[in-house]
Amino acid sequence: MIAEIMFRAMGSQVRVILDTPDPAAVETLNEVPGWFEIWEQHLSRFRTDSELSLVNVSAGRPCQVSEIFASVMDASLNVAEFSGGLVTPTVHDALIQAGYRSNFPDFTVGEIKAGRRRPVPDVSCIEWNVETREIYLPPGLRLDFGGVAKGWAAEQTANRLEPFGRVLVDAGGDICLGSVGDQVRTSGERGGDDPWIVGVADPFRSAQMIERLALCSGAVATSGTDYRRWQAGTRWQHHIIDPRTGVPAETDVISATVIAPSILIAEAAAKSAVILGSGEGMDWIDSHPDLEAVLVLENGSTRVSSGLNRYSWKES
């Protein structure tokens, strides 16, 4: 039996699909929107009463955080390390400066301050004790977990539902397939005889796909400047901040799709590729043996990593 649930959470459309022999699993699917609501109450910067907002206003003083917050904080620091600082929770004020003050789909452009280009703070300025769950933000520093929170939520959902069968979690286009830490398996590998088919959307024609992937585990995430963008005067702004400049990334990549063993890595790698641009971005992807990518450039051309072919799905 295949059952699926769809709802909106964390500013995105969420879809969870469960391939299970157990009819009772549908009851558990009913609980998923509630899980996301709880996580959002901890992690959203758009809610003034969220735990994240409380931690942000406490900058300058140490405070203890919940286990959920601690888990995402850890994930966020790991992602920052993996990406060499390109994906960091310290971009909060740069996002505000760029006008990203309210969440989608109810987004309205906030006041855009004249873009002074300066790097965002490094995560090393955050004092974080994982054992006591105590955090200290320097005065004035505010955090935004961004895609890490959504990826973490997708991963948690997959972990909770996996006892019922095979699970796919699509959190606004970032897709988690099964166990965390699994190697990405294709249909030709062990345990990979019944793959999920994941289409890669064409950023210029959203109803069309530029590629179809066959995957049994791991994750796929796409990051891009084709959505969550807004106009400031004559210039387009978007939500992907380059931490090196503190302003929206100036890049020739309009969307980057990455296959990785986990959704957090996939999401961070996709964002990093956008920030770095097609040349440096693809070199960076190729330097990681467990990553594969499709980059769509502003000029309409496509670049794929050397090992992507083994995930391509050809309809027989």
Partner: protein, 110 residues
């Protein structure tokens, strides 16, 4: 000349007395107005919200801000008691066993 002067001084003196009297009355009324407004605002800010807001902003808000700044965030509500889930509209579909798995699409976050 003296008489002429005298005739001219009399009206001037009278005018000055009038002016002094009016000024005194105005000053007295002004003083009482300002004083009563201040007392009213301090004793019962609700009586005149517009005036009270000015007074409050000038005198009490900094204290409140200091209290707010010195207070620790209430993270206990997150660590011990999770907030109740707010009902979220959702849709569940159960597919036929013979149907192939649905295709999903990856795209930039939306």
């Amino acid at each position: 000349m003296a008489r002429t002067s005298s005739r001219r001084d009399k009206p001037q003196l009278g005018t000055m007395k009038w002016l002094i009297s009016i000024s005194s009355i105005a000053a007295t009324l002004g003083f009482w107005y300002v004083f009563s407004e201040q007392v009213e605002s301090e004793l019962d800010p609700i009586v005149n919200p517009g005036q009270a807001r000015n007074v409050v902003e000038a005198t009490f808000v900094p204290d409140r801000q200091r209290e707010a700044l010195s207070a620790q965030p209430d993270v206990s509500k997150f660590s011990s008691t999770e907030p109740p889930p707010v009902p979220t509209p959702f849709r569940i579909i159960v597919h036929d066993a013979n149907q192939p798995k649905p295709t999903v699409v990856t795209h930039s976050s939306r």
